[in-house]
Symmetry: C2
């Protein structure tokens, strides 16, 4: 359909497409407190709210069944779906799954997929309450839509970050991205080998981070117990650079993060060097981290550090200062979301 | 992945796959009143419930962009998504949309899709509150997940049909199925023609039924105003035979429907004869009708007929009697869901 008179989606840039599509949306129900524009929609239930979010994964883009075991895939799609609920500081309770099933998928393959989904549901205390299955001409498609509940006053939006707030993340970054690169490399290398034996020794952690990301529900519980209320929060899925820019855009603020404070696992650095990839690029722009990025008031610094679950990587500034990465020699580099702008 | 040791999905039959996948699901939250097994999941909100349902459409299976205008497609996917909420007798309020976008889709094409979605949302009083976009290697994929609310006592399940209840439908059947056949025929005929001019004259109604199905919200409102509470209800999407069997299965009952009472539009019969298709097969097994099938107590007969919005096509029997189609000469034929069993 695209021809000379039409616009390619890529030309709209990082936020352009979403803005264009959502700008026309109207709110007709007073129960709609928050529509598009955050991790999840927020629906009024009185004292409480319901939050709701949807996430699609397509074969060939979001996963390769050549090396992604179906049980892990089921696990991961539930974790991804639920993360948007967690990122609103809500308790995920139910989800529905829509599947587009290609002819090559057997009943046993679906069993494995559902086994993985139930495994994640069990860990997260969520109920899989329904779904839809349709055929798919080309490849497996999975859409997980999750809902959760929170007290109205507990909901954390992307838009609440204030100057001087601390920027926190829940784990080292770039590991899932390198895990994906490792799987892709072994697939290339072993393409024409009869009994392929992929070489993953020493890099198991990276594979786990890509194939079986963990939902950091425990961090949210710890924050709650300590009385630390984040001012803003987002699911780290597109990469630190892009997701931090989302927070800054929604909160109309800037940010300074410090390169030497961004945690990168040794396996990530080792494999990145082996593959001639800059580990900092993996950490900033790799994506697929599936961790939480959030801000807390400066006075919470000691409490947050004491948790031992979080890294503080920088602080929020005024909007005019932009979103800046500070190198060890003190130089400030404007952060771009390379995944979109390249 | 399917090989000699695996099971093909088709071999599980009409209800086999869903049963197999959902049998392992656990309920962990007391707010989960109803999981898989009806048109929508039901979630406890106190006096009220929230109902939630998801619906996926994939290119090449559920639509052909060769003849399905994107604006109509946007409209239809919202109507389909909302129908499951209506079929629970709930008020649809919000929905989220996940899109898998192939490279050939331009920004203008997405604009048209969203325009159609907003058009349906406006008619149905629903808010599109968020979504997800991902790339898709092969073809457009759309998942609509809708939620709605109802008083707990107003929810209508599939499982409430009782012996002697009347079986009602909200429109003639088979028209959308014949509309699809017409579009497919013109596509075949005009495949190699430079400036194709498809011949649709006289059959516009069939095209509209396929391309722009209407959600029968007005029927539900009329039933409510007249104090008629359905005992069971389902969205007619797989065809009358399959969907009636779903009601009978959930309600542990049988049914007798009368062939001469099943409304079939003249255009449907005309085109079916022209294309050597049995119009009764189109009406019973065609699917895509997107109407409501419901049962009401026998004593509501006069009230229901007076509405002028509904056809009564038969009645509920005991389970042992099976699901039977009665021909004009009084013969009873066991109804099969051909879409699955062939």
């Amino acid at each position: 359909m695209a021809n000379r008179n039409t616009t390619e989606i890529a030309s709209l840039g990082e936020f352009g497409l979403i803005d264009r599509l959502t700008s026309r949306l109207k709110r007709r129900n007073k129960s709609t407190l928050m529509g598009a524009g955050d991790d999840a929609a927020v629906i009024d239930l009185g004292d409480e709210v319901m939050v709701m979010s949807t996430d699609m994964m397509t074969e060939g883009i979001d996963f390769d069944l050549g090396y992604f075991p179906l049980k892990h895939l089921g696990y991961k799609c539930v974790v991804r779906g639920v993360y948007d609920i967690l990122a609103m500081n809500a308790k995920p309770e139910q989800l529905v799954v829509a599947l587009g099933i290609s002819a090559k998928i057997s009943v046993e393959a679906l069993d494995a997929l559902y086994e993985g989904m139930e495994c994640a549901c069990e860990e997260l205390g969520v109920d899989l309450v329904g779904g839809d299955t349709t055929a798919s001409v080309n490849g497996l498609v999975i859409t997980v839509t999750a809902i959760g509940r929170a007290k109205k006053s507990d909901v954390v939006y992307r838009s609440g970050a204030k100057e001087h707030d601390l920027i926190c993340i829940t784990s080292n970054l770039g590991a899932a991205y390198m895990g994906l690169h490792l799987l892709e490399r072994e697939k290339r290398v072993l393409k024409d080998v009869d009994n392929p034996e992929p070489q993953f020794a020493g890099y198991e952690y990276l594979l786990e981070r890509y194939l079986k990301p963990r939902a950091r529900k425990n961090v949210l519980e710890a924050l709650r117990e300590e009385g630390i209320m984040p001012t803003s929060m987002i699911d780290l899925s597109d990469g630190l650079a892009s997701d931090l820019r989302q927070i800054c855009r929604s909160s109309r603020c800037g940010a300074r993060i410090y390169l030497e404070r961004i945690p990168i696992a040794k396996q990530t650095t080792d494999l990145a060097e082996e593959m001639h990839i800059d580990p900092v690029i993996a950490a900033l722009n790799g994506g697929e981290d599936h961790e939480l990025l959030f801000t807390v008031p400066l006075e919470m610094q000691e409490k947050v550090m004491r948790l031992g679950l979080v890294d503080v990587i920088g602080h929020i500034t005024r909007e005019e200062a932009g979103v800046v990465l500070v190198t060890p020699d003190g130089e400030g580099i404007a952060l771009k979301a390379q995944a979109f702008d390249r």
